[in-house]
């Protein structure tokens, strides 16, 4: 006799957050960089911002920092970022 066992993982429907559809091009785009307040993020984002502007023609970059790496971004920060065409969110160190 066989057994049927249930998948213990979260299904796709359980994901309240999903990635936005990708942009066709970054040319002329407004890109937001959300800094998770970890020690290495600022320097990494300096480099990323320069690359986005110089190599990909990004028009404007908004940078905001979370007050704490392990908590959600505050609503006002998310509100400011919502104007962007794309958001890069930092995780980890």
């Amino acid at each position: 006799m066989t057994l049927r066992v249930l998948d213990p993982r979260l299904s796709a429907e359980g994901e309240a957050a999903r990635l936005a559809a990708p942009l066709d091009s970054l040319d002329g785009a407004l890109v937001a960089l959300l800094d998770n307040a970890k020690i290495g993020t600022e320097r990494f984002y300096d480099h990323l911002e320069a690359m986005l502007r110089e190599r990909y023609g990004v028009r404007e970059v908004i940078r905001r920092r979370k007050p704490d790496a392990s908590r959600p971004a505050p609503a006002d920060v998310l509100g400011e970022l919502s104007a962007a065409d794309a958001i890069v969110s930092g995780i980890g160190d």
Partner: protein, 344 residues
Amino acid sequence: METLQSPLYEVADAFEANELFQRNGWTDGLPIVPPTESVVSRFLDAAGVPAGAVVGVEPVRRRRITAEKVAIAAVMAGGLPEYLPVVVAIVKAMCEPEFGFHGVTASTGGSAPFVVVNGPVRLALGMNATHNVLGNGSRPNATIGRALRLLIINVLGGIPGQLDRSTLGHPGKFTFCVAEDEEDSPWLPLATERGVTPGASAVTVLAVESPHQIMNEWTHDPRDIAETYAAAIRANMLTYSIWAGNYAIVVPKQHRQIFAEAGWSKRDLRERVHERARVSRREWRAVGKSAVAPRKDEDAIYTALRSPDDLLVVAAGGPAGGFGAILPPWYGKKSLAVTKGIDP
């Protein structure tokens, strides 16, 4: 009975079910009880909760944790249906913002959720509050705690090397759940102190580093006993983290008797430890941290607890032995203890 939503896999038998879960990384390394539809439904029925009910949402990544997934984890862990309401209450507590579920799951600091159960449910489930209380031996203690880890692995993605970035972790990450010895304690239960109606069942969860045992069997002076706990906390502040937050201490009967004879309540003990568990920044120099000591005023005093209320005093342990433990917080006040009532 509400229909379960999780995908199903057909396997030859229980051995192969475990092999499937091991192969896919859906367990903690130990074998699991196969979560079949009938068993998972039995757990949900016992808790009176619909499969699709959202027990909680992890605040950072917005993962919606359904009762179905909690029940699957509780079955896998090897528990009984009547344990599920306790697991559900703990998951609800961990989803409160002050617990910082994402941070404690992902951090290199490698903490584990430490759970204290209070109220009549302890006796109904036969939980252990005495011999070897921080170790093995009790099915409800072991499997309620383990269900949390399995849920963190499978629903939050807290897989070592993936979302779980712990440098070391510690053995409490397999399971870390105790009952408080209310019947043999002169003190108020932890949950009652934290605002739960006396006589109601509740859980308290705190993200902790590994427990550190202390020993003092050579005094009847409550101040001496309190000092040994405070000294272990001071050592943790110097060698691990100086930041203030919730600490838990587990106080065995032999120490409780000394406090009781002297008329010390939990409050008295908390106040004493708050007063004594503090270090100056300069002391970092003696433990190899000279490089960071001078970054700020070295005469500044740091307390382990922001106030006496930050200390969770838990009455538990075997009847003999002057062995207690301190359980340090993951990272100061970034994760705080949360207490929740258990829905019957």
